[in-house]
């Protein structure tokens, strides 16, 4: 580059060709899948696979959030799937309430007397909470009747939790693996809480029947699935643009600087904690939205989905895809979750070794674990690293010192916090 040319502000898409390419591929993919779908097209792709693809798009979105918080800001959060799940619970409560309300109203309309509000709400409550032996609405369901309020909750609940937790964690300067363990503890506490029957969210039964959208009982699932697929694709596209915008400017500079050397950024006068908190909360909100789109397609949510292991898997996707680049997160999430579906769905052919038959349903996790170790050891850039090889991009010579994302997590710096 020449010294005279100072960068002019151009649209993000032009300054970052990868954004343009990504959006184009996403659009092509979405249109292509729609054409091949049962609901709107020639019916090559089954509705259940449309749902799988739609869910995968949501996972890509949450992986983007994870990449932003981990790949760019250096915070290895093991709590983002909890935010994802909270978003799912928030929307699931409305879906379940509204649908049960329709059923209850229908059954009560046959009665000789018109139902009173109490009868309706008791009916809904006993339908929903019968499985946990309760028949009254817990306080957390106070807004479940209202779609706008629950949609607000999709954003607010994960956002507020992240805000409070992040504020506590960052202000006491917990960093690196300590922060990871702390976020993991938060996730564990949340899932344990939800596992209790008296949490008010049906304990380990979770919320179910979420694929039935209230008021759309006459619309076939094949159509609904395409709607959700499109919604997920749009959310992913917007999320990608948002993330690209956030990381492109000075803000991106600062958070990457925080990742690489937090103390130095502090001496530049930046309130590091506020930046971390902002990114942590923003990504929690993105995760919540992704969850709210995911679970109506999955149909059921239960506390096991919030367990720490889910968040660790999220980190695995991002690492395999290649962190520190947005498309890496998307590739990782899509690749690993689709391959995982293929293996655990029993579609992968068993391997007969003569003395033992490898059944992939049982052995897939082992393979995933081992391949993950291999990626960490031999290909720390993940699948995204292939792109570098393709376009022959070399990382700057660092005079022997690897000052990549790990730098922000040097042991010395953690020990002193």
């Amino acid at each position: 580059m020449t010294d005279a040319a100072l960068p002019r502000r151009q649209p993000i898409a032009l300054r970052f060709p990868s954004v343009m390419i990504f959006l184009a591929i996403l659009a092509l993919f979405t249109v292509g899948v729609t054409i091949l779908s049962e609901g709107f097209g020639i019916g090559v792709i089954s509705t259940s696979f449309i749902k799988t693809l739609g869910k995968t798009l949501c996972l890509c979105l949450v992986a983007l959030a994870m990449d932003l918080v981990w790949g760019y800001c250096g915070i290895l959060s093991l709590g983002h799937m909890a935010f994802f799940g909270l978003g799912g619970y928030a929307i699931g409560m409305w879906l379940m309430y509204a649908r049960t309300e329709i059923i209850v109203l229908e059954s009560l309309s046959a009665a000789p007397l018109p139902p009173t509000p109490t009868e309706v709400s008791d009916g809904i409550a006993s339908q929903i909470f019968g499985v946990v032996g309760a028949s009254e609405f817990p306080p957390v369901w106070a807004f479940a009747h209202s779609l706008p309020l629950q949609l607000l909750a999709v954003v607010l609940v994960p956002g507020l939790l992240a805000l409070v937790f992040g504020w506590l964690a960052f202000r006491s300067r917990v960093t690196g693996v300590y922060l990871s363990i702390l976020t993991q503890a938060m996730t564990l506490a949340l899932s344990l809480h939800l596992f209790q029957n008296d949490s008010g969210l049906r304990g380990n039964n979770g919320l179910s029947g979420l694929q039935n959208i209230p008021g759309l009982s006459d619309t076939p699932q094949s159509t609904v699935s395409i709607w959700f697929f499109w919604a997920s694709a749009v959310a992913l596209g917007l999320g990608y643009l948002l993330c690209a915008w956030v990381v492109s400017g000075k803000f991106g500079s600062v958070i990457r600087a925080i990742r690489d050397d937090e103390a130095r950024v502090r001496f530049l006068g930046y309130p590091v904690e506020a930046f971390k908190l902002a990114i942590f909360t923003l990504t929690a909100v993105i995760a919540g939205i992704a969850g709210a789109l995911y679970y109506p397609q999955a149909g059921i949510i239960n506390p096991a989905e919030i367990a720490p292991i889910a968040s660790i898997y999220l980190a695995v996707w991002v690492a395999i895809g290649g962190r520190g680049r947005l498309y890496g997160a998307v590739i990782g999430a899509a690749f690993v979750s689709l391959v995982s579906t293929w293996f655990t769905g029993g579609q992968a052919p068993d391997i007969n070794l003569g003395f033992y038959t490898i059944n992939w349903v049982d052995w897939w996790t082992v393979l995933l674990g081992v391949s993950f170790v291999c990626v960490t050891l031999f290909a720390p850039k993940g699948i995204g690293g292939l792109v570098d090889i393709l376009i022959d991009r070399k990382s700057p010579s660092r005079h022997g010192a690897d000052l990549g994302p790990d730098q922000g997590a040097l042991r010395e710096q953690e020990a002193e916090k």
Binding site: I181, Q196, D362, G369, T376
Partner: protein, 652 residues
């Protein structure tokens, strides 16, 4: 027919000569004198007959009552003499004389009538029998009698028990009798003074039986009145709508006492309304408008005005009635003085019980802390000393436990198998740890986040592997017989031997750790390498080897901990993940790099969890949730843990 039978039986009696029955024996005479009552067998009138038998002082009286109670007493229809008999077959009896227990002979049963006392009478007989059993020569019979009294004490037992005290030869049984006598005195003592003395004699006694004897004395009945009576037997007053007296119960009380109009349930009201629908109207109100409770109340009131249904109280009336009355408890179990003594005694006992429960809880917490410490001590080495974050640590614990299980498959003797399993578990996990360090971790030193993820990969692979090999169901790891049972200190405080063993093991590990780190060459080299690897290397220490050995040592300890935890909990492929977060929390809370910190951390986490469980015993999930929340908050105030390294040492 009857006559024929009589003649036939008479012939039979003649045909089978029997030894003569002693008709003049005192017991037979006594029975004859009560014959009418006995044969009539009425619960109401039988009392004097049983009393006469019981008070006769005749040794045979006990036999009579025994046989009577078990329906083996028969009466000769002709002579009216009483015998006891056993049925030989469908229609013959072998009869015996009560006087001396001698066999009279085998006779057809036609001439005899079996006495079939009903359960009420049998109960009376049983009570009367107790006094005989209490003085029986066989100690077992005496003990059984005491057992019977403990199960269902009756007023009459008291006198019998007192009578038998003087003659009791066995000191242990005597002590039991005396205790029981005092307990019965509490319930049935003749005078208040006597009962109060008995109550006071149990001051601070932790026995469940004492509380069982005292509780009925302080039984209460909830009553309602316009004003609070000033009787001495009035307890506390209650507010309607409080936990002790829900609003509905309070009102039901008023209704039962005819102090208020009844209410109607929502369902009954609906039924009543439905029953009175006419032309789409209820009492002139359109059915379609009855979609709120107020509308339904109005419709019902309208019906009541028409006289179609009975009037019920409205909510306002309910409130009015409730506020018009006071609700209070009246002691109905005993006279006021006795109640006061019982309350005092109960309070003293409860205080002592609470104290003992706290002590018991402390023991529980201590053993939980030992388990956390065991689970965390390996981590204190790999994470605390080396700074390697090993997410597969829990799986090393699991491997240790499965090693123990496999060993037990081959060595059936539990004691021996545990002795073999412990070193073997150490060896297996030491090997696994060394392999992992060589293959994975050493490439990732100073990249802790990647170590976290890579070891997590190993963790899920190992977990699935265990699932594939051992299946998903829990496998038992059986403790040796001498570890069964528990050390019982009193009715409240007890601790199982296995928990004591785990506690001892935790102390041993602490000692081992301190020994290895402070007294051995390895420990010195480990400390040197962790403080300054380059300097250590220049002094001839091979940091690679030290790292490998240290990691192996930490992993090996996790294996032994696995055996211990396996004894206490079930062995499953997921057992490791149950402990991993808590273990990390223990190390972090305690302060990284300091074994005493880990000890304090484990103690804190253990006591905390038990403490929270105490508030909400039914819900261990909630306890864990709150504990984790507490730890998150705790780290706010002491980010470096309880024992924090300060200054340059921490920054090095």
């Amino acid at each position: 027919m009857l006559r024929f039978a009589a003649i036939f039986s008479a012939c039979l009696t003649l045909a089978f000569p029997t030894s003569a029955q002693q008709t003049d024996a005192p017991i037979q005479q006594l029975l004859q004198s009560q014959s009418e009552l006995i044969v009539e067998s009425s619960r109401v009138t039988i009392g004097p007959a049983i009393d006469a038998l019981a008070n006769s002082g005749l040794p045979a009286a006990q036999v009579v009552m025994d046989k009577w109670q078990t329906r083996e007493m028969w009466v000769n229809a002709e002579t009216g003499l009483f015998v006891y008999a056993e049925e030989v077959d469908g229609d013959a009896l072998r009869i015996f004389d009560f006087a001396d227990g001698s066999e009279i002979g085998v006779v057809p049963d036609d001439g005899f009538e079996q006495l079939k006392p009903n359960s009420g009478i049998r109960g009376l007989i049983g009570t009367a029998l107790v006094q005989f059993q209490l003085s029986d020569t066989d100690p077992d019979t005496r003990r059984r009698a005491l057992d019977a009294i403990e199960r269902g004490a009756e007023e009459s037992h008291l006198a019998a028990l007192r009578a038998s005290l003087a003659k009791e030869p066995d000191a242990v049984i005597l002590a039991r009798k005396q205790r029981l006598e005092r307990l019965l005195t509490i319930a049935y003592g003749a005078t208040n003074e006597e009962r109060i003395v008995a109550i006071q004699s149990f001051d601070g006694d932790l026995g469940v039986d004492v509380r069982a004897a005292l509780n009925p004395l302080v039984a209460v009945r909830v009553e309602a009145a316009e004003t609070l009576p000033s009787d001495p037997d009035i307890g506390r007053s209650l507010d309607p709508g409080s936990d002790a007296l829900p609003r509905n119960d309070a009102y039901a009380l008023l209704v039962d006492a005819d102090l208020a109009k009844p209410r109607i349930s929502v369902e009954d009201q609906r039924e009543a309304l439905i029953a009175n629908i006419a032309d789409g109207q209820v009492a002139g109100i359109q059915v379609a408008t009855l979609d709120s409770q107020t509308a339904r109340d109005m419709a019902y009131a309208a019906l009541a005005d028409q006289g179609t249904v009975t009037a019920v109280a409205t909510e306002a009336e309910v409130d009015e009635r409730l506020s018009d009355h006071v609700f209070y408890e009246r002691y109905i179990g005993a006279p006021p003085e006795v109640v006061a003594a019982a309350l005092l005694a109960l309070e003293a006992i409860e205080n002592k019980v609470a104290l003992n429960q706290a002590f018991d809880l402390g023991l529980d917490a201590l053993s939980l802390a030992s388990i956390y410490f065991l689970a965390a001590i390996g981590l204190a080495i790999t994470f605390g000393v080396m700074g390697v974050i090993n997410m597969a640590h829990g799986e090393f614990i699991m491997m240790g436990a499965y090693t123990g299980y496999v060993v037990q498959l081959f060595i059936p003797d539990y004691t021996l198998s545990i002795l073999v399993a412990i070193p073997l578990a150490f060896a297996v996990t030491f090997g696994a740890g060394v392999a992992m360090e060589r293959l994975v971790i050493r490439w990732l030193y100073h990249r802790p986040l990647e170590t976290l993820l890579a070891t997590f990969g190993i963790s899920i692979a190992l977990q699935q592997l265990a699932k594939n090999i051992f299946g998903t169901q829990a496998r038992p790891l059986t403790a040796p017989g001498w570890l069964d049972g528990s050390l019982v200190i009193n009715d409240i405080v007890s601790i199982s031997y296995i928990r004591i063993a785990i506690f001892v093991l935790a102390l041993l590990f602490l000692a081992l750790f301190l020994f290895v780190m402070n007294r051995t060459r390895l420990g010195l080299e480990v400390r040197a390498v962790t403080q300054n690897p380059r300097m250590a290397a220049s002094m001839g220490i091979n940091p690679d080897k030290i790292n490998m050995l240290t990691f192996g040592f930490g992993s090996g300890i996790a294996g032994i901990a696995g055996v211990a935890i396996g004894l206490y909990a079930k062995v499953t492929s997921e057992m490791g993940s149950d402990y991993i977060v808590q273990s990390f929390m223990t190390v972090v809370v305690g302060g990284v790099g300091n074994i005493w910190g880990t000890l304090l951390g484990a103690t804190m986490v253990g006591f905390l969890q038990k403490g929270i469980e105490w508030f909400n015993p039914s819900n261990t999930l909630a306890a864990q949730t709150y504990m984790i929340l507490f730890i998150i908050l705790f780290i706010q105030f002491r980010p470096k843990g309880i024992i924090a390294l300060k200054g340059r040492a921490a920054e090095a």
